[in-house]
């Protein structure tokens, strides 16, 4: 059972310049009664990681990105247990194998064979186990007779092969690899890839620092970004829970997006005022769905909302994550818009969590309306994703699966709801309505969302609103830029909500016709 858990981990290390490493200065310090302390104790303390929290379970593959000096290697060393944390707690289970520095653990005077045993033993295997592992390493490295030669005659690519072969031959449960993994020719990369898949399929933890987006895309399901020692998860999986509070839903595309875990005030998870009569989520806190707040949250104990939320949750769209803030915002706007002329439409439905909540929340107010739900109901075709969006493709693939029949079943009892399967904007042909009061866009890619916005904005009634589920999430750069342009062309700006949503309200018709003219030309 491989498992790593970091709780608010800070790693600091002293940098001794030549000055302070010398005993003389310590003696001077003592003999001068500490007067020279300031000059002589020239120890600079570097905070390499600050307040890092995450949890890795079996099967997690993590790509570590960040600038040089951002703390990637320190994080790997801390995960391996080499560096102790100054603050915080680390739990680790499972046999660790590290490939951090090229050549570390090898004795260059000894032969390849002797080094296989040597490095394997340093990683915790017995002599006998390593002897037995030699044929496997021989076959994997394809170094042939070179294995009988001293390692000092090897090229760096050959050393990489040897280290990788040994590091994986000991059957690690947790494999930590630093960026130099990119070394090695195409043939090695191919072999390494199949070995990686083997490891990943046997449900182990794999963490890998790299500057190569290709490699990260290839191997990693989760991406951690380090900046100045602060860790941000770029595409959190469904059930990441930090203190059990920062749960975020899969419904909003990259749920924990940009959620700097360290930014959650330390007390957030502990001092929870439990709202009386709360029925929305099982463990309500003031730090959920990407938010931390001290403000009034009466909606949490509103029975109508609780029912709506429960209905949405029952669709399985959120996989148990707490997304009540977002759902609340969506319900509020849908209700407000329902008094206007026109219909409701959602582009990007997945299993219909938010739309089901809205249907429930609006109740009879939806009676004379239509609510169109547009989605492929089988994920996003990769061809329309930009390079940047591709980085999160793996995540989408896993969370957005075939669900058409389920969605049909969910809304079977609501004749007002039309479920339209296909790719936006092609599917607008199947939407009969020409006027809309509420538009919800959540398609996790800029091309489709722009097409939807261009089509729907002119058809939005004055007073109606367009709610963008992905707008303010840090990683959704493409979508944000596209909507900022879209708004600018219409003399507006998008309201970025703390929930990660973006909001556009239509306040006048005139500018709109102009914009329509522009977009049509």
């Amino acid at each position: 059972m491989a498992h790593i858990k970091f709780e608010n981990v800070t790693v600091q290390y002293p940098i001794y310049n030549a000055h302070s490493l010398s005993l003389r200065n310590q003696l001077v310090r003592i003999s001068t009664g500490g007067l020279l302390e300031k000059e002589s104790s020239n120890v600079v303390t570097i905070t390499a990681l600050s307040g890092v929290s995450f949890e890795l379970n079996e099967g997690d593959t993590v790509g570590l990105v960040g600038h040089n000096g951002a703390g990637k290697t320190t994080l790997l060393r801390t995960m391996a247990g080499i560096y102790p944390p100054a603050v915080g707690e680390i739990q680790r289970q499972g046999r660790v194998s590290t490939i951090i520095e090229l050549g570390a653990g090898l004795d260059i005077e000894l032969s390849g064979y002797e080094n296989i045993v040597r490095m394997g033993m340093l990683l915790g295997s017995s002599h006998g186990e390593m002897e037995a592992a030699i044929p496997g390493v021989e076959a994997f490295t394809e170094l042939g007779d070179f294995l009988s030669m001293p390692v000092r005659t090897y090229s760096s690519g050959m050393i990489m092969r040897l280290m990788f072969a040994v590091g994986t031959a000991i059957r690690p449960e947790i494999l930590l690899i630093d960026e130099m993994f990119g070394t090695g020719d195409a043939a090695f990369q191919e072999k390494a890839q199949s070995r990686m898949h083997e490891l990943i399929s046997t449900a182990k933890i794999f963490v890998f620092a790299s500057h190569s987006q290709d490699l990260i895309k290839k191997y990693c399901r989760r991406v951690f970004s380090l900046e100045h020692g602060t860790l941000t998860e770029l595409n959190a999986p469904i059930s990441v829970a930090v203190h059990g509070i920062a749960r975020t839903g899969p419904d909003a595309p990259p749920p924990a997006t940009g959620q700097t875990v360290a930014a959650v005030p330390p007390s957030a998870g502990i001092k929870v005022k439990k709202p009386v009569g709360n029925v929305v989520v099982a463990n309500p806190t003031y730090a959920q769905d990407g938010l931390y707040t001290l403000h009034c949250v009466d909606f949490m104990s509103d029975e109508r909302f609780a029912k709506a939320y429960a209905a949405g949750e029952a669709t399985g769209s959120w996989s148990g994550a707490a997304v009540h803030w977002r759902v609340y915002v969506a319900c509020w706007f849908a209700e407000g818009a329902s008094s206007l002329e026109g219909d409701l439409i959602e582009c990007g439905v997945n299993r219909g969590g938010i739309s089901r909540a809205i249907v429930s929340y609006l109740g009879t107010k939806l009676q004379d309306k239509r609510f169109y739900l547009l989605d492929t109901f089988q994920g996003i075709p990769v061809t329309i994703l930009s390079d940047r969006e591709m980085l999160h493709n793996k995540y989408f693939k896993e969370n957005y699966t075939e669900c058409y029949q389920d969605v049909l079943n969910t809304f079977r009892e609501f004749p007002q709801v039309s479920v339209v399967k296909g790719l936006v904007p092609d599917t607008f042909d199947k939407v009969d309505s020409e006027r809309f009061c509420f538009v919800h866009i959540d398609m996790n890619n800029a091309i489709s969302e722009m097409a939807a916005a261009e089509y729907l904005w002119p058809r939005l009634v004055v007073g109606g609103c367009m709610l963008l589920d992905d707008y303010a999430w840090v990683i959704n750069v493409d979508q944000r830029q596209a909507f900022d342009r879209f708004a600018k062309q219409r003399d507006m700006t998008v309201l970025a909500l703390p929930t990660g949503q973006g909001l556009l309200m239509k306040t006048r018709e005139a500018s709109d016709t102009r914009a329509e003219a522009i977009s049509n030309s």
């Binding site: 002293p14 030549a18 005993l23 391996a80 080499i82 660790v96 590290t98 490095m119």
Partner: protein, 256 residues
């Protein structure tokens, strides 16, 4: 630290393999291998006994065994002490990149020195065959002597390993002091031969370490105070080492 030491038991094969690998590695591609060590010691003992024996005009039958045992024990002591400040720093690459118990490095150093020591014992055996000492039960005192010696060297290696990693001058300082100590310590001679200066020799901890081994081999028991002081050194030394290790072992990977 105690439980860490206990956990090291698992790593014993690793440490032995590495210590032996280091020894082999040093004499790689030479015909005689580690026996160069023995030849070196033998040449030293022979040369010194020839010159000093001539200079001092002493009885070779007692002088040569004194010198042979003295040199072999001194080599063990000096080897451990001189290398102790680099026990951790020499393994910095491993310590920073692989999760290994820190203590295997000083212990590996100790084991390597013991391997050398065992090789060198060949010289002692040959000398003792040529100049046999009076055999008796006294010789059994070598066993507690050896335990005290190794026990003391062990804390020295760990303590100075830590200090040497933190303060880089210590290695240089010890490098300078060791040759001097060779002459200040009764290696080539016996403390009694110093006459009025003898009491100064007993201020030197190394004097005790050598007496613990050499006296029983030559057929007389060391004075009780030798054991008393050695045992005190053992206790105080380990206490200080455990204290420092307990407080600061977390910092070792940052120091190296």
């Amino acid at each position: 630290m105690i439980d860490q030491l206990a956990a090291l038991y698992r790593y014993l094969p690793l440490m032995l393999y590495f210590a032996w690998g280091d020894t082999k590695g040093r004499y790689r591609r030479s015909v005689l291998g580690p026996f160069w060590l023995v030849i070196g010691t033998a040449a030293g003992v022979f040369g010194l006994s020839f010159i000093w024996g001539g200079l001092l005009k002493v009885d070779r039958a007692t002088f040569v065994p004194t010198l042979a045992v003295g040199i072999v024990v001194w080599q063990l002591i000096a080897g451990c002490v001189a290398e102790s400040p680099s026990a951790f720093t020499r393994n910095a690459a491993v310590m920073r990149n692989l999760k290994t118990p820190y203590l295997i490095f000083p212990l590996q150093l100790m084991l390597r020195q013991l391997i050398n020591f065992v090789h060198n014992l060949v010289v002692v055996v040959v000398v003792l065959i040529v100049f046999p000492p009076p055999l008796g039960a006294t010789q059994l005192l070598v066993i507690p002597g050896m335990l005290l010696l190794v026990g003391n060297l062990l804390w020295i290696v760990i303590l100075f390993g830590m200090l040497g990693a933190r303060f880089r001058d210590i290695e240089q300082t010890i490098g300078v002091l060791i040759p001097l100590m060779f002459f200040l310590t009764p290696v080539l001679y016996r403390p009694e031969q110093l006459g009025a200066m003898e009491q100064f020799a007993w201020l030197n901890p190394f004097t005790y370490m050598i007496s613990l081994i050499r006296d029983p081999i030559q057929g007389f028991a060391p004075a009780p105070f030798v054991y008393l002081i050695s045992a005190s050194m053992l206790l105080v030394g380990w206490w200080a080492t455990l204290w420092l290790y307990g407080r600061r072992h977390d910092r070792i990977p940052f120091w190296v």
